[in-house]
Symmetry: C2
Subunit: 348 residues, 2 copies
């Protein structure tokens, strides 16, 4: 189904939520330009979440999207943690880090009752989820606000599951997409499908509007996704150089370098496969390791290496999230980029 | 560069060469419908090649494409062959096959002087290569016939290499594509890019016309590829159910089953990564094995298993080549399919 579908915005363009490289400033800029800005909430503490939402409401009157993860938090596994730290031991030695000194980091929390209560007051027009959907009661609560619920599907099977379980629209996340794969029915990487193949098959399979994500970097990409049956598009990587993004200088440099042509799905940084630019740790350990702790626990062991390396001006241990098409990244205001992305859409 | 580019055909649609599932009949049907039909030549003996070309010339007066591989044939490696056969030993036992009885099969030969001499007489309008390009003298000989030379790029680097080395147009082979990856500058699977990301980046990088391949299955896909900057498209999987194709009954059944939703890049059948529907041997051994003999030598050891299983009505050991989008497969004449693929193109 292509229409009627409305995000409440002028443009069928969603700025993809990108935890770690953006907050309310980028989201608001996109909202004010007529797109749907997104606030990535998975890594925020309750206080940070409240602050960001307050800020966002101050910066825009337009509809916005808040994004949460819905994973099941794993029990810490000391043996696995030890195995992973021993894989990283040569790096700890290189940087003079005492592995026993590494404290657990803030991690990523799934959407829960507490978060729902906090967010409810801000009445977001759209709530999007990654890794499936929250349990029924929680989902009904969100829908009771009047929010539209989106979630990512990486296969036709996941799209059908999301439709069955109450999503209002499906994000078809092609494997070109940067950051975490939204996969939740399988952890088999070979099930992951490119946007060009995934999008039309999901459009054909479901009775919901489908939002295209993955590899869309410019006006042609937006227009092509619409031709393939998308009702809207979600664009992430292209926004990462915008002044409103909080992308680090090292990350910005990588996105603008030839290195950005080679990304990989890697679980080294969090425990779940996510697409980032290939850097030293990915090259040396291989992108996918069987030794990492379960998501999101793998984050902890890498954190001090990342901190030390970044302090020395190196992104060898940083998650340089990027999709497979960084060619649309521009150091221009997000509003301008949003308008450029919409340039080939029919006037409404 | 989008235009001017002419394949000498009415439609900017190339039927992808698919060794093992089609010959001159499918190619001629597409040519006569206004597209560019392709004859896959890599697995043909000189006599078969001559027969097929003679047949093709009889069936059509339109331009056609002949496709060859340009790999360097490896020296047989007895130790590696033994290791691979021992990985397959349980299957040999299951089917009562004596591994020592397996003779080397016909294999796949790269384009060479002998082939050039044979093909020259048929003056194909287009010659396409997989795995790079033949050496300069041979390439010049082909170009001296007046043939346009195409080759597949799976990365921007490969596209630039092909441009530098004399290709007339670049096939941007997105990782959705079925059959062998054309990759030739790297054997690292993580370098492989989805069509939505690869196509516009190659269009941006080279001064040659770019042909989109991978995941294109219907008129919307063709139109979307043109929006992304393609000068033409190459479609393979969608043609595999056409009556003119020689696709086996087992392969046809697989393409029409839900199994077709899960393909993988596998080197189990030939030694090089190629995309096919996941079947028993892929599931049990994993899609990519470090034990396979070098391309194309891996073909030999699997052949008797395939033969025995197919005789029992099972495709457990068959290479079920398919792209990630089999949704466009239709059991209709290739001419009709070609017209349907062109339905959203502007009239010329």
């Amino acid at each position: 189904m292509q229409l009627p579908f409305s995000l409440g915005t002028t443009l069928p363009i969603i700025q993809a939520p990108m935890a770690g490289v953006q907050g309310s400033a980028l989201a608001a800029a996109v909202c004010n330009a007529g797109g749907l800005g997104s606030l990535p909430c998975a890594m925020l503490s309750p206080q940070q979440l409240r602050d960001e939402l307050t800020q966002l409401r101050q910066l825009t009157d337009m509809p916005f999207n808040v994004n949460f993860f819905c994973h099941t938090p794993p029990a810490p596994d000391a043996a696995r943690e030890t195995r992973w730290r021993s894989a990283l031991a040569p790096y700890y030695a290189e940087y003079g880090i005492d592995p026993s000194s590494i404290a657990a980091g803030p991690g990523r929390n799934p959407f829960n009752e507490e978060t729902a209560a906090l967010v409810e007051a801000f009445r977001p027009a759209v709530v999007s989820f990654h890794f499936g959907l929250p349990h029924t009661d929680l989902l009904q609560r969100v829908k009771a606000w009047g929010a539209k619920v989106l979630s990512s599907a990486t296969t036709v099977e996941e799209a059908l599951w999301l439709q069955e379980h109450g999503a209002d629209a499906i994000i078809a996340q092609g494997l070109e997409a940067g950051g975490h794969r939204g996969m939740f029915l399988s952890d088999n990487i070979t099930t992951q499908v490119g946007t060009f193949a995934l999008l039309p098959q999901i459009v054909q399979a479901v009775n919901l509007p489908v939002i295209a994500a993955g590899g869309i970097a410019d006006a042609r990409g937006v227009a092509a996704a619409m031709v393939l049956g998308a009702s809207a598009v979600q664009v992430g990587t292209a926004y990462m150089l915008c002044p409103e993004a909080t992308t680090s200088a090292l990350h910005r440099a990588a996105l603008q370098s030839p290195a950005a042509r080679h990304t990989a799905l890697t679980n080294l940084f969090t425990g779940r496969p996510a697409r980032g630019i290939v850097n030293r740790v990915i090259r040396e350990l291989g992108p996918l390791s069987a030794a990492t702790p379960q998501f999101p626990l793998a984050t902890t062991a890498m954190a001090p290496l990342r901190a030390k390396a970044e302090a020395a001006g190196r992104s060898d241990f940083s998650p340089l999230w990027s999709g497979q098409n960084a060619s649309g990244c521009k150091s221009i205001p997000a509003a301008e980029l949003t308008h450029q992305l919409a340039a080939l859409l029919p006037h409404r």
